[in-house]
Amino acid sequence: MIALRQFSRILKYMLLLEFRVRDAVTLLLSLSIMFAVIAGFGITSASLEPRVRERLFPALLWLCFMVNAAVALGRSFEYESEHKVLDGLLLAGVPPAVLFFAKATVNILVLCAGQVAGVTVLGMLLGVSLVPHFGLFSAVSLLVIVGYSALATIVAALTAGARLRNVLLPLILLPLLFPLFFCAIELTTLILEQGLLPLSSQWLSLLAGLTVVYVALGATLFEFAVGD
């Protein structure tokens, strides 16, 4: 109960800070829209068949998300590092796992906003609509975003004190996320082509498994990431 109370309170102040400063969400939204516009116009000018464009859509969408999110979350621990507030919270008796879940939740919300912008703009420009498959696509996106956020949070915490953190974060994070994105691309293609997401799909099992592993790893390793 105490941990849940601490989680809700820290989340409240982290969200307040994110709302007040808005740098991560502004950066992610801007990058998502710009990337989608560039990719959309490039594909449109190639005069590809609608079916080919639909086939390209998942890879472009998730590439856009993967790169932009890595850039935006590079600043994930900027507020905490500035005056070492995590040290204060740890001394106040907040378990590291609670700090991890609060930070990861903020990142999930930021990533959701970026994903909505990317899907909307890229979908409009390529003439691909995910509206008929909203539920299925949302489920896949949520699993990817939760896994991404968990891994990005722990890697951002590990690199927060490094001078080259803006270089280190994407270099460490992106290769670790490859399996997650292979699953995301395959499942989005399946949803667009067949309009269904079979629970027996190996890609879905792999995606769910990876997400669970990343969240468990993040919650366990965060203590070492914020320690000396």
Binding site: K84, D87, A92, G93, D228
Partner: protein
């Protein structure tokens, strides 16, 4: 007989190839105000971070009493441990709300207001910490630390950014906490303003304890504090 809150035995720590602390041992009792003296780079801040549990020693151990584990440690350092873009009041409220032992804080609206008034932060309560002067930022950090009824307070150069009035207030706050049984370890160069509250002094040099005024009676302790301070001044000449 006062309880021992914390015992550090043979604590050592390096950063890269530089040995900062070597074989450092000390014990801190309830109601004690221990001044940690030493030149820049002598290992005072590193020792405080190890005592706080924020840094792991490479060698040696730090043993904490059940009382200390229950009531926790308050730590004030140069890094404010506050959110720079939250206001002073929001930061203090957050720490009050997330404390694991709610009763150990002067929590709630009344406690928060009291803490803000006590440290002269009322006119600045709604300003972001990053917009405050160094002295006011230090006051917010001290207000956060003193709002908690901890068993041990670790203060790293607490008066370095404070004016005389606030330092007097700090000395008063230390005396009040000591009368409630709390202990303090204070790393400082500000002997003119903080030596009056000390019951013991410990001199660090080259990462090791070279002088400890620990003594059983307060009279002898006061005398020994002065001797340790003199030794510190000699080393700095």
């Amino acid at each position: 007989m006062k309880d021992v809150l914390l015992v550090a035995k043979g604590v050592a720590r390096s950063f890269r190839s530089t040995r900062v602390l070597s074989e450092c041992s000390l014990a801190v009792q309830e109601g004690e105000v221990l001044l940690l003296l030493g030149a820049n780079g002598s290992g005072k801040s590193t020792l405080l971070r190890i005592l706080a549990g924020l840094l792991r020693p490479e060698a040696g151990v730090v043993e904490r009493s059940p009382l200390l584990l229950e009531r926790g440690v308050s730590y004030h350092a140069h890094c404010l441990m506050l959110y720079g873009d939250l206001t002073a009041a929001e930061n203090l409220q957050m720490f009050a709300e997330v404390s694991a032992t709610k009763q150990s804080w002067s929590s709630g609206a009344g406690g928060l207001t009291e803490s803000i008034q006590e440290w002269g932060l009322a006119p600045h309560r709604n300003r972001a910490v990053n917009q405050l002067s160094k002295g006011l930022q230090a006051r917010v950090s001290l207000a956060r630390g003193f709002a908690r009824a901890s068993a041990l307070y670790l203060l790293d150069e607490p008066s370095s950014a404070l004016d005389d009035n606030t330092t007097k207030h700090l000395c008063g706050a230390i005396s009040r906490k000591v009368s409630e049984g709390a202990a303090f370890v204070i790393a400082t160069h500000d002997l003119a303003r903080l030596a009056s509250v000390a019951t013991r002094a410990l001199l660090l040099s080259g990462g090791a304890v070279v002088n400890d005024s620990q003594a059983p009676s307060s009279e002898v302790a006061a005398h020994s504090v002065q001797q340790t301070i003199e030794r510190y001044r000699e080393l700095n000449r």
